[in-house]
């Protein structure tokens, strides 16, 4: 067992998105078993750790940057991870979350928390991070090393990207996915 390679550490975060990209990752199904011995999930919505460990090999970001918490998490991911992947259309383009960008914030709040509220219409102020003026793709906040578009990127594309990276090769995600796929 001494010649066994150290597993590649992976951290994933879920910012402003629907979690579909993480679901698509779980859609690797039995291929997860194949990949499991090669990787170690050190931080993710699917594991319990509270901090992103410094020196993590690969970071994967799902979702756009919509509020101060998203921005802080993206900066932490960039600082902690050697290689950062923008996973899915929200992270890569802003996608559906960015559709609010044509409205000002007050219009969004009025629509969400007043017009459509059944009970006690009010703007949320406690325990929620302030929204940014505009929803941004991840690469407009931190440098990104690889873009994997798709809504969500198909499991085959995620498998291909991870297995190529684990094999030390540079993947070309557009072979298997694209904007809106």
């Amino acid at each position: 067992m001494s010649d066994k390679k150290k597993p590649v550490t992976i951290a994933t975060v879920w910012l402003d998105g629907c979690s579909g990209c993480h679901m698509s990752f779980l859609d690797l199904d039995e291929r997860l078993v194949e990949i499991a011995p090669l990787i170690e999930m050190v931080y993710s919505p699917v594991v319990d750790s509270k901090e992103i460990p410094k020196g993590t090999d690969v970071g994967i970001i799902e979702g756009a940057i919509s509020n101060e918490d998203d921005r802080a998490k993206a900066l932490k991911m960039r600082a902690a991870c050697g290689f950062l992947i923008s996973l899915g259309d929200c992270a890569v383009t802003g996608n559906v979350p960015s559709m609010r960008n044509v409205f000002d914030q007050k219009e969004c709040f009025d629509r969400s928390y007043h017009e459509n509220a059944q009970l006690q219409p009010m703007d949320p102020t406690v325990c929620v991070p302030p929204l940014l003026d505009k929803v941004l793709p991840v690469h407009q906040v931190v440098d990104v090393d690889l873009y994997v578009p798709g809504c969500p990127p198909p499991a085959d594309a995620i498998y291909y990207v991870l297995s190529e990276l684990l094999a030390g090769r540079q993947p070309d995600p557009l072979l298997l996915t694209r904007f809106g796929k």
Binding site: G94, N101, V102, K134, H139, C151, L174, F179
Partner: protein, 243 residues
């Protein structure tokens, strides 16, 4: 009987991507390249319509020229040496696609043309996996006033295929161009709601030549809009034959 004068030579010789090719005078670089199985990318060009030369995706390098030329609107000349693919051209074309994405609100995942869109296909072909320019998020509207069709300016890339097909093939001249620069828009008649147009025949040609989800049939949900572009060359051939 005096000998008749021979017509001038009808064949030009030139080079495209290091291949010796022949061409007829009056042909464009794009046409000659295609005759020799060299496909140059493009979005505003469509067989059967007049040439617009607006999308700038078909730019090529011509030796001896200090600027790039649009191959769809440049006629060939004897001895021309053309390069249709180079790192420089690829970089320019990528930026063109990125600008188109950044200029309006193309949200592919919820677009009715998702999966049937030439802009999407071109992004894949040219390796555009993200847009490095800031998105402009313009507040542009959408015209649903026509009974059968919808015009969504969010998805429009101003290729003007709809304007050309409306005037040149249908002869209605409903579609036009209004505004300048970043404010340029496809308009109906004198910039009135499509449904109030007196000239529109509701033929739907504009919908089916549109490369994106800017012109669509109503009642289509995300990824449901299939465009039938093949009708246009057929229509043009039949009209030519009638003349």
């Amino acid at each position: 009987m005096a000998r008749q004068k021979l017509p001038p030579t009808q064949t030009l010789t030139m080079k495209i991507d290091d291949v010796d090719v022949t061409a007829k005078p009056g042909q464009t670089i794009k046409d000659v390249a295609r005759d020799h199985d060299i496909i140059i990318p493009g979005l505003c060009y469509l067989d059967g319509l007049s040439i617009w030369g607006g999308c700038r995706l078909c730019l090529v390098e011509v030796e001896g020229m200090n600027k790039l030329l649009a191959s769809c609107s440049t006629e060939v000349a004897e001895g021309m040496v053309v390069h249709t693919d180079s790192p420089k051209l690829r970089a320019y074309r990528k930026v063109v696609i990125e600008m188109l994405f950044a200029e309006r609100n193309h949200v592919c995942s919820v677009c009715v043309s998702n999966g049937g869109c030439e802009l999407q296909d071109m992004a894949v072909e040219l390796g555009v996996d993200h847009v490095h320019l800031p998105y402009m998020d313009p507040d542009v509207n959408l015209d649903s006033s026509n009974d059968r069709f919808r015009l969504d300016h969010n998805r429009c890339i101003m290729c003007t295929r709809c304007v050309r097909v409306c005037g040149e093939i249908e002869g209605a001249f409903t579609k036009g161009i209004g505004g300048r620069g970043i404010d340029v828009r496809i308009i109906n008649d004198l910039n009135m709601p499509w449904g109030e147009s007196q000239t529109c025949t509701s033929c739907g040609k504009c919908v089916h030549v549109c490369p994106t989800g800017a012109l669509v049939e109503k009642g289509t949900a995300a990824a449901e809009m299939d465009k039938r572009r093949a009708f246009l060359p057929y229509l043009t051939i039949m009209r030519e034959a009638q003349r």
